[in-house]
């Protein structure tokens, strides 16, 4: 048995494992050093965790879109980050109009619903058009082709919106009713943060419900399992895929509004980095898996928020928060090497990862 085991391990495996262990060791060392330093109080850690959860909620929502599309088409929709951007960027203008009409702060719930509806509508439309124009004709093409198309579509959409709305920042008005924070003893959570976390949770539950318990969700799951057989069973594959994109787009639009509630600025480039982080989150949780995307998002958000302080500060690295994206990417690499199916797992991982 030892001999077959030795035969299966290659040199590259050894090197990769060595690097992995080295990084893990440094992380543990850094953590211990930081905790020993005692620079941060438990209240600070809690603050960081809550911030991470809020950020993670947004990653989770965007990740839902990635995971739905990947589950059904086995393809990363690179342009999803622009689907995410289109909704809130457009809705910002509506919000401005509502402010001018005086409705914004007088009827905050109504305003929020309107803005959410518009963002979801715009994002879904973009997602739908994307699928119809760019992805559908390439469904049978070799792997690389739709991937490149997605990258091209991503840049095209980014710069189209830049051309349309300008390259500057578009401020998103804040809601009076969401100012300030709630406190439980020493724990402070901003009202906006709470809204984001709860909103992400709600959206996740809705989508999970759709995928698991509705007829349409069943169609989605069967198409993702085996397209040809699903077609034989009488499922309209094209329509299912279109609606999947619409759902993913809608969740991205909602994510976008939550995002601008938390960080009230929209601009054409805003989707790019959150998109990559969200993809990392989707992979982390298990691609194709709805609760997985949610969990992955939260974990990534927390690690990004807490990580630099926890791992890097203790090692004496100056300006640790400059390296927080590095932490996110290293997490991605780790997961893809050591557990490609993600935390909650997903059947097709090994063959497709």
């Amino acid at each position: 048995m030892l001999r077959t085991w030795r035969q299966r391990i290659t040199f590259s495996d050894v090197v990769v494992w060595a690097i992995g262990l080295a990084i893990a060791f440094m992380v543990i060392y850094g953590t211990i050093a930081t905790l020993r330093l005692g620079k941060y109080t438990p209240a600070t850690w809690l603050d960081l965790i809550i911030t991470g959860l809020a950020l993670g909620g947004i990653y989770a929502l965007i990740a839902l879109g990635y995971t739905l599309v990947y589950g059904i088409l086995r393809m990363i929709n690179f342009a999803h980050s622009e689907v995410f951007m289109a909704g809130p960027f457009t809705a910002a203008f509506l919000a401005d109009a509502l402010v001018k009409l005086g409705i914004w702060n007088r009827y905050p719930l109504l305003s929020l619903v309107l803005v959410l509806a518009l963002a979801a509508a715009i994002s879904s439309s973009i997602a739908f058009l994307l699928e119809r124009i760019a992805y559908r004709p390439l469904r049978t093409a070799p792997r690389l082709v739709p991937l490149i198309t997605a990258i091209g579509a991503s840049f095209f959409l980014q710069y189209t919106f830049r051309g349309l709305y300008g390259s500057g920042l578009k401020g998103f008005p804040t809601l009076e009713v969401l100012k300030g924070y709630w406190s439980l003893g020493t724990i402070h959570i901003l009202k906006t943060q709470a809204v984001v976390i709860l909103g992400a949770l709600a959206m996740m539950l809705i989508l999970y419900g759709i995928v698991q318990y509705t007829k349409f969700g069943k169609a989605m799951r069967s198409v993702s399992e085996d397209k040809e057989t699903a077609a034989l069973m009488g499922i309209d594959v094209d329509r299912t895929i279109s609606v999947t994109f619409i759902l993913g787009g809608a969740s991205a639009g909602v994510a976008g509004i939550l995002y601008v509630i938390l960080f009230p600025v929209a601009h054409f480039f805003m989707g790019f980095i959150p998109g990559i982080k969200a993809f990392t989150a989707a992979v982390l949780g298990g691609i194709g898996n709805v609760p997985g995307a949610f969990l992955g998002g939260l974990i990534l958000g927390v690690l990004e928020s807490v990580g630099p302080s926890l791992f890097l500060d203790g090692m004496g690295i100056p300006a640790p928060y400059q390296l927080k994206d590095v932490i996110a990417f290293i997490i991605l690499v780790f997961i893809l090497i050591f557990r490609p199916s993600g935390i909650l797992g997903e059947r097709m991982a090994q063959a497709k990862a």
Binding site: R143, L144, L164, Q322
Partner: protein, 567 residues
């Protein structure tokens, strides 16, 4: 018959709507407004107008294509209706803009834009003119279908050349002005902005005549020539190209040497990425990492600023390249088991990691942080310091020659075949006995080698290395140019680099919409011509399996058709 006609009109209307939507999009994004300043025919037609009317024409043409089998009148009408619809949709913009202040939302919905769209006549006269113009242009577009193929070719070539001449006016004028007295032969063709009408007509006639004459002759296709004639032809072409390449910067001056240098550096990088993506099928979005590593290594080793080392450029070069290759292996190891999409994102992550590390305060003592590394040494040859763009051009040319030669030999070597097998299907390749690990790592290493080389030349040209130079956009540029040029095709890299890297330098307006165009081009190319502009023969076969004469049940992998291996 009646159902048929209603279907026809529906078709015309639908395509017209799409055309109109395209024009409105172009208008709102700002392309039409920006290009308005650049006249093609001075005082008459600007590029903005071309971009405004061309979609209408082309959409009408494609609408007419659908009804090709019908009578001439029907074809013309369909085209005209389509054009009318496009104009109608376009007219909505200025009409709406009168009532609502669109500018609050759409930065480009300015009165100037409306002026362009209504031909300066305002509402309502301008709208009527717009509709009329749409109708006519639509009909014109459809009428192209009625012309014989040869006439169509002549017309389209002539028009394209006139537009190109108008766009590249500055470039041409600068080159011509160096000819002194003889410049007057061509000078009258150009006005202050764009072509003079006389010049436009002249170019139209000349190119039209040339195309006419060309298309009449029957010439043997290159691959049908006997081998020794083929070889002679190749040698003559290469020799001629070589001579021109050598004298090019001397003739064109420093202005263009700068552009050639940039294009050249990207060709060098493209050759490397072409191996990784084109040969081996590994989509690397973090290619800039190796570029950065080459540049920074030369910086660290030669700059007196950091005080760590003080080598010359030539001494630092092998180290820099070796470090880049090592990085290629190190960054390749973790991604060996990943495919397609995951590989792309992870490599993108690596590229960003390298950039962030170069920028970081943490590594500032060694990498310079946000200030970068300055005072990087120039290369010395004998007593001559290679410092300006013209001199460095030759260095880049040598680099490209070496890289091109290596890439060309590798393509047909055993390693190259292994790469292509891996690109096709990894599992089958492994089953055939190919060592996946070694093959993939060699691909990364070779790609990193070229990128590192390019990086060292970049650093010495700039005499500085700043982290801001090594952003994701460099990787995206390299990726776009090899894909649009032709994946896996070496001449394709040159074409892609010339077109994609040269155009923003030559056309300032284009530079503003650069990535929009890149994105659109990628999507359009993948949809219509995924093998690129100058394809590699094998690739073209792979991607157009359906066009083969022998019908298959479903697309078969290339390995099953041994007779098609033509390289």
């Amino acid at each position: 018959m009646s159902t048929n006609t209603s279907a026809l009109w529906k078709q015309a209307i639908r395509t017209g709507l799409i055309g109109g939507a395209i024009v409105v999009l172009l208008a709102l994004v700002g392309v039409i407004g920006t290009f308005k300043e650049r006249d093609i025919i001075s005082g008459w037609i600007s590029m903005g107008h071309v971009l405004f009317l061309a979609p209408i024409l082309l959409i009408a043409y494609s609408a007419a294509r659908h009804v090709e089998s019908h009578s001439k009148l029907v074809i013309l009408l369909v085209g005209a209706i389509s054009g009318l619809m496009s104009a109608l949709v376009t007219a909505i913009l200025p009409l709406f803009g009168q009532v609502v202040n669109l500018r609050a939302m759409f930065a480009n919905a300015s009165p100037d834009l409306y002026k362009i769209l209504t031909f300066g006549q305002g509402i309502p006269l301008g709208v009527i003119i717009l509709l009329l113009v749409g109708f006519l242009i639509g009909g014109l577009g459809a009428s192209l279908l009625l012309l014989p193929l040869r006439a169509r070719k002549v017309l389209s070539q002539a028009v394209v050349w006139v537009i190109l001449a108008g766009l590249l006016r500055e470039l041409i004028v600068v080159v011509i002005s160096r000819w002194g007295v003889m410049a007057y032969i061509f000078r009258w063709m150009f006005a202050q902005n764009g072509l003079a009408p006389v010049g436009a007509i002249a170019i139209f006639v000349i190119i039209g005549a040339l195309t006419f004459w060309q298309s009449g002759k029957k010439r043997p296709a290159p691959r049908d020539l006997p081998p020794h004639q083929k070889r002679k032809r190749t040698l003559v072409t290469l020799g001629g190209a070589g001579i021109i390449l050598i004298i090019l910067p001397l003739v064109l001056g420093v202005y263009f040497s700068e552009i050639l240098d940039t294009v050249g550096l990207y060709i060098l990088m493209g050759l490397g990425l072409n191996i990784v993506v084109g040969f081996a099928g590994l989509l690397d979005l973090g290619y800039v990492a190796f570029f950065a590593i080459g540049a920074y290594t030369v910086g660290i080793l030669t700059s007196p600023e950091l005080g760590l080392f003080h080598l010359t450029y030539w001494q630092a070069l092998p180290f820099a390249v070796m470090v880049a290759v090592l990085a290629g292996v190190v960054l390749g190891l973790p991604v060996l088991k990943m495919r397609g999409d995951y590989l792309a994102i992870v490599t993108l992550g690596f590229g960003e990691i390298i950039r962030i590390l170069a920028l970081s305060d943490w590594l500032k003592p060694w990498l310079g942080g946000s200030q970068g590394i300055q005072q990087i040494a120039h290369p010395w040859i004998g007593g001559l310091e290679l410092r300006n763009q013209t001199q460095l051009y030759y260095l880049i040319l040598v680099g490209i020659a070496i890289a091109g030669f290596i890439a060309w030999r590798l393509k047909d070597s055993r390693l190259g075949r292994s790469w292509m097998a891996v690109r096709e299907d990894e599992d089958v390749a492994q089953a055939m006995g190919i060592n996946l690990v070694a093959t993939k790592l060699l691909a990364f290493a070779t790609g990193a080698f070229f990128a590192g080389l390019s990086g060292t030349i970049f650093a010495t040209k700039l005499t500085a290395a700043y982290p801001h130079s090594f952003s994701l956009f460099v990787s995206i540029n390299a990726l776009c140019l090899i894909i649009i040029g032709g994946m896996g095709s070496i001449p394709g890299v040159v074409v892609g680099s010339l077109v994609l890297m040269g155009s923003p330098e030559l056309l300032r307006e284009f530079a503003e919409y650069r990535y929009l165009v890149y994105g659109a081009l990628l999507v359009v190319m993948m949809l219509m011509k995924p093998e690129g502009l100058w394809p590699e023969a094998r690739r073209r076969l792979e991607l157009h399996e359906e066009n083969e004469l022998v019908p298959h049940e479903e697309p078969q992998p290339v390995l099953n058709n041994p007779g098609q291996l033509g390289g």
